[in-house]
């Protein structure tokens, strides 16, 4: 079965290699695209087959490793594949969403110039390789390596429109922030090696080191999975083409952080203080992101903050002590958030702008897109029978079990807000009077609608596949209807939808929002912090160091040169060129020589 799992790594790698080296093929446009799409689809099929044959929780993992780093003759780090209950489902999610997005991109990116299209699909294949490599990583080192490669792909894909200055800044910002967080991750991996002598995912021995390693690893998670202080790069990442946002910045890449915690669960399990911190950070992120999403005008920004909020959910779930809740929510969220982004993409494709205020009444023009978007929105809001309801309630339930009442309340509030802002988007975009732009909107071609349909299907059905996520008990679907948090969440969701519909659908309740606060949140206060940190902190420090090096350290070195030159010039005066001075010098020299010798001896 392991060979099947290797397909999603080697096939796209081959595709990337071919596209990278044979530039005529890359410049050929559609053939290159189809090659990449084919390899993505094949990888998806292989992943699903591998998942069916994969060992269920408890069974030994199938794996294959080659030694990579060596230390005094012994190998200290291997590279390879490890297929088990945790990695198999994630592989399916990744490859499935990637395949859908690639097919979707055929339509969405059709009008791009040929070489750019080739480049786009090449990097997409590289992303699949990196993501699969990370999912199947047998040890923490390969996980870290692929984690960084995923960051590289995000940098490349965000900066796809490299001639747009804003895209360039966004791409660089993404890397800076994520790598800043990766300082923690790398230190964690190094500490892991130092304490355990290897890179395995579990840590025997005292829990002190485990706590520290877990905390450091969590720093990396906060960066990649956009937890509150370090989430500033995610909204800017929307500069990339929408399929990229769908694949990377919604479904898979941002979830890497969560998957890291799941993958290295034995370490985190042995570090309770880190877990409690995670619940709080997750909850806070969920709430803050939800509030910010409320006030955004750009449809993609709304979805970005919504992703940020859902990631908060997953992290909070992980913090409760069982990784299943987070993991399950991750998978369901991947499907419906990818769906939402693709739908948003076809909306943008239709009206040509991201600004919600210029949209309206698209339901009539783009029925299918509207229908799929609304389905996704409902799943996100947590309306049964869609998968969102099941996974979100599982999270709330776990929070309840872990007696984390504070985070529970915050998450409930966030759930309500989520429903509210999704409905706001639906009303502003699809319902209400048609704006100038939406008049000449037209439905997206089938090649875009087909993957959205597939994702819609999985978003609906995913709720029922609880059994295959590395957990031992399969929960019956109806189990949630009865629990208290489940009911509370449902009520809040319906309330949110109603309120939002009344405000934006029918224009009542005008006094609800506080425009000043909305404007302040939109301005991105946290982002401002980072920018100021760079402009007043790091850059001036570099300036000072540069100045010190050129004028002080280098100055001191030049001082010697200067002293030598000036000193020797001044000494030239001694050599007067007059014969009598020379004779005098000679005689006095002789006298000193003789005196020193003659008198010196006597003492």
């Amino acid at each position: 079965m392991i060979e099947l799992a290797m397909v999603p790594v080697f096939l796209p790698l081959a595709t990337f290699g071919v596209l990278a080296v044979l530039w005529p093929l890359r410049h050929s446009g559609m053939p290159a695209a189809w090659l990449s799409v084919a390899s993505a689809l094949a990888s998806c099929v292989a992943a699903i087959l591998a998942w069916t044959g994969a060992p269920v929780a408890g069974e030994p993992a199938q794996g294959m490793v080659f030694d990579w780093l060596v230390h005094d003759g012994k190998t200290i780090a291997e590279v390879g594949f490890r297929l088990d209950a945790i990695s198999a489902p994630m592989l399916v999610v990744v490859t499935f969403v990637a395949a859908c997005v690639q097919v979707y991109s055929l339509g969405y990116m059709a009008h791009e110039p040929r070489p750019a299209l080739g480049r786009y699909f090449a990097w997409h294949s590289l992303f699949i390789v990196a993501m699969s490599g990370m999912v199947l990583a047998p040890n923490m080192l390969q996980f870290l390596a692929c984690w960084e490669l995923v960051g590289l792909c995000s940098y490349l894909l965000i900066g796809f429109y490299w001639d747009k200055p804003s895209a360039g800044r966004a791409a660089v910002k993404a890397v800076w922030v994520t790598r800043f967080a990766d300082i923690g991750l790398m230190s964690g991996v190094v500490l892991l090696y130092v304490t355990t002598g290897g890179f395995a995912f579990e840590m025997t021995g005292d829990s002190g080191a485990a706590t520290l390693v877990a905390a450091l690893l969590f720093c990396g998670v906060m960066g990649k999975s956009a937890q509150v202080p370090l989430h500033v790069w995610l909204p800017d990442a929307m500069e990339g083409p929408t399929p990229v946002s769908a694949l990377l910045h919604a479904a898979t890449m941002v979830a890497a952080g969560v998957f890291l915690v799941v993958r290295a669960w034995p370490i985190f399990e042995a570090a309770p203080p880190v877990l409690t911190a995670m619940t709080w950070i997750g909850a806070v992120t969920a709430l803050v992101a939800a509030c910010t999403a409320l006030v955004q005008h750009d449809i993609k920004k709304v979805l970005a903050y919504s992703t940020c909020s859902q990631l908060g959910y997953m992290v909070a779930a992980l913090g409760t002590g069982s990784f299943f809740g987070g993991y399950f929510h991750l998978t369901t969220h991947a499907f419906f958030k990818a769906l939402l982004f693709l739908a948003a993409g076809s909306v943008i494709h239709a009206v040509g702008t991201n600004d919600l205020r210029e949209m309206g009444g698209l339901a009539k023009k783009t029925k299918l897109t509207a229908g799929l978007f609304i389905l996704g929105a409902l799943a996100l809001a947590g309306v049964p029978p869609l998968s969102g309801f099941f996974s979100k309630d599982l999270v709330l339930e776990e929070l309840l079990h872990a007696h984390a009442y504070g985070p529970l309340l915050i998450c409930l509030a966030a759930a309500g807000l989520t429903a509210f802002y999704m409905t706001r988007v639906v009303c502003m975009a699809f319902l209400g009077p048609a704006s100038a732009r939406s008049l000449e909107a037209h439905e997206s071609p089938p090649v875009m609608l087909l993957p959205m349909g597939a994702l819609a299907l999985t978003a609906a059905v995913a709720g029922f596949t609880t059994g295959r996520f590395g957990n031992d008990v399969a929960l019956a679907p109806w189990h949630f209807a009865v629990t208290a948090p489940g009911v509370a969440a449902l009520l809040l969701a319906l309330g949110g939808i109603a309120l939002a519909y009344m405000k934006y659908g029918q224009g009542k309740l005008a006094g609800l929002g506080v425009p000043a606060l909305a404007a302040f949140i939109r301005s991105g206060p946290v982002d401002g912090l980072f920018v100021r940190g760079w402009q007043q902190g790091l850059r001036p420090l570099a300036g000072v160091v540069g100045w010190v090096d050129r004028y002080v350290v280098d100055g001191a070195v030049n001082l010697f040169g200067w002293a030598a030159l000036v000193g020797s010039e001044r000494m030239r005066v001694l050599q007067s060129g007059k014969l009598r001075d020379a004779t005098y010098l000679l005689v006095m020299g002789a006298l000193v020589v003789v005196a020193w010798g003659a008198i010196g001896g006597v003492r």
């Binding site: 990579w68 060596v70 490299w162 190094v190 790091l538 001191a556 030049n558």
Partner: protein, 514 residues
């Protein structure tokens, strides 16, 4: 087949023959230099193939008495480290020769000096006799003066700061200034090395300069306490150790492409190699006593170099400062006295050599076409030169430690070594340094290559042509190959480390029990 002598002497022989070739015939000059570099590269490859990893230790030994009465003999042998660094030099030389294919004024002299320089470098990596080691070291340092002096470029530096009078008197920024400063600082370093060598020689009974002989008769602890710093400062000045690094920015910024490729790519490694192979292996107790200070200075190097690079707006200065920072990582690795640390240090020499070689080749191309090095005046170059943009990004990613490239392996091993040998602060500083590197490298890539089209003042920008691709593809390819399959070189380096480190660790005092 005495491969080592062939590899070392091929460039010298070619230089000698070039002397006789009339300078008018450009073709023969190029073919001859390319042939010489090919022979060296081929020799390096032969050596690495012939080197038997299981056996380890010193192999392919060639000895010939040179001045028996003083105990000096032409004693070449290669250990694990020598193999990898020989390979690096061969690669960089081959790329360097092709990078200056289009040079036209006085190209014959250029190639003669370049080949002499490389012969010096090759000689140092493989010579066992300290005297011959020093002899090659001097040969490697001196051609730089003429190379920078004749083909270098001048950059106006604003004169200010507390020592403005000194700067004004020495016409800072000029190419003669840079050439002279570089040569003098390195020669002052070699003065200290000479003193160190003579101390070792006397300690070994003043009979033989061979390193093996000297290793058997180590100096007393008190003597080692001052001999090691002498060797460290001497070699360190070439490796860009903090207070003596100031020649590096000016030297590399003024040097022509191939020269800075070779200098930053290979010559700085000479310094670090010297510190480890001569300094640490022959003065173990000195090395152990001074390791914390060497490490602390290396940390300054890393962070100071990275911040320095960030403050620069001239492309060549950015790369030069980044070399100082990366060489700091090498010295950090060396100071850890840990297997991973040393493996990482030597691998970093290898990886950084490739990276900087590629960087300076690219900078040469960009400067050759745009005749400007101010990165914030450029923009959108990717439209005109996509190939250069791709390889520049590739080199940048490797320098910021992106996995899949050689840079990551080296830095990761160094951080492992640092943390394991108890200097956590060094490791953290190194990791932060890597992040700062990411900041200024990506900023440079964006400033030069991304954005709308190139500003109108750069009219005839074109992508790399013909032979220029050789350097890019060769070095870029190596970065990826050695990044994905590090064992190709790491095995040899590990063999070298496991041969030398125990010698140093024997001198470890109990309190530093590993």
């Amino acid at each position: 087949m005495p491969w080592l002598s062939i590899t070392v002497l091929a460039p010298l022989l070619a230089a000698a023959i070039l002397l006789l070739v009339p300078s008018s015939s450009r073709g023969t000059t190029r073919v001859l230099s390319a042939a010489a570099s090919l022979v060296s590269l081929w020799g390096a490859i032969e050596v690495s193939l012939a080197y038997n990893l299981h056996e380890g230790g010193l192999q392919l030994r060639e000895t010939l008495p040179l001045v028996p009465s003083l105990g000096i003999n032409w004693d070449l042998a290669v250990d694990g480290w020598g193999v990898s660094l020989l390979l690096l030099t061969g690669l960089i030389l081959f790329a360097g020769v092709f990078a200056t294919w289009t040079l036209d004024d006085r190209d014959k002299d250029f190639y003669i000096l370049l080949l002499t320089l490389v012969a010096g470098v090759l000689g140092v990596f493989v010579s066992l006799d300290l005297f011959v080691f020093f002899l090659f070291y001097e040969i490697a340092v001196l051609p730089m003066y003429l190379l920078i002096g004749i083909w270098g470029s001048t950059k106006k530096i604003e004169i200010k700061g507390p020592f403005a009078f000194a700067l004004r008197r020495l016409d800072v920024g000029g190419r003669e200034y840079a050439a002279m400063k570089l040569t003098l600082m390195l020669l002052i370093g070699s003065a200290f090395i000479l003193v160190g060598i003579f101390a070792l020689y006397q300690g070994g009974g003043a009979r033989d300069f061979g390193m093996l002989h000297l290793a058997e008769h180590p100096l007393s602890r008190e003597a080692q306490l001052w001999v090691f710093p002498a060797l460290w400062l001497g070699f360190g000045s070439l490796a860009g150790v903090f207070p003596f690094h100031t020649w590096s920015p000016d030297g590399h910024a003024s040097a022509p492409t191939a020269v800075s490729m070779l200098h930053a790519g290979v010559l700085m490694k000479l310094g670090a190699f010297g510190v480890m192979r001569v300094g640490m292996v022959l003065c173990p107790e000195g090395a152990v006593a001074w390791a914390p200070i060497v490490g602390a200075v290396a940390v300054i190097n890393v962070v100071y170099g990275a911040l320095g690079a960030m403050s620069q707006t001239d492309l060549k200065y950015v790369i030069a400062y980044s070399s100082v920072s990366h060489m700091g990582v090498v010295m950090l690795g060396a100071a850890t006295l840990d297997t991973d640390g040393w493996n990482g240090a030597v691998f970093q020499m290898f990886a950084h050599g490739l990276m900087t070689g590629l960087f300076f080749a690219l900078v040469g191309l960009v400067y050759g076409r745009a005749h400007d090095r101010e990165i914030f005046r450029m923009g959108g170059f990717a439209k005109a030169m996509p190939g250069v943009a791709v390889f520049f990004t590739l080199a940048g990613l490797s320098s910021l430690g992106m996995p899949g490239f050689a840079g990551f392996i080296a830095e990761f091993l160094v951080f492992l070594g640092a943390w394991r040998s108890g200097n956590v602060v060094w490791a953290l500083a190194g990791i932060v340094g890597a992040w700062v590197t990411a900041v200024y490298v990506l900023r440079a890539v964006r400033a030069i290559f991304w954005g709308e089209g190139p500003p109108e003042r750069y009219h005839h920008l074109s992508d790399a042509k013909g032979t220029e691709w050789v350097a890019l593809v060769l070095l870029g390819g190596c970065l990826i190959v050695f990044g994905c399959w590090p064992r190709l070189v790491l095995d040899a380096i590990d063999v070298g480390t496991s041969m030398h480190l125990p010698v140093v660790l024997q001198a470890v005092k109990p309190e530093l029990a590993l």
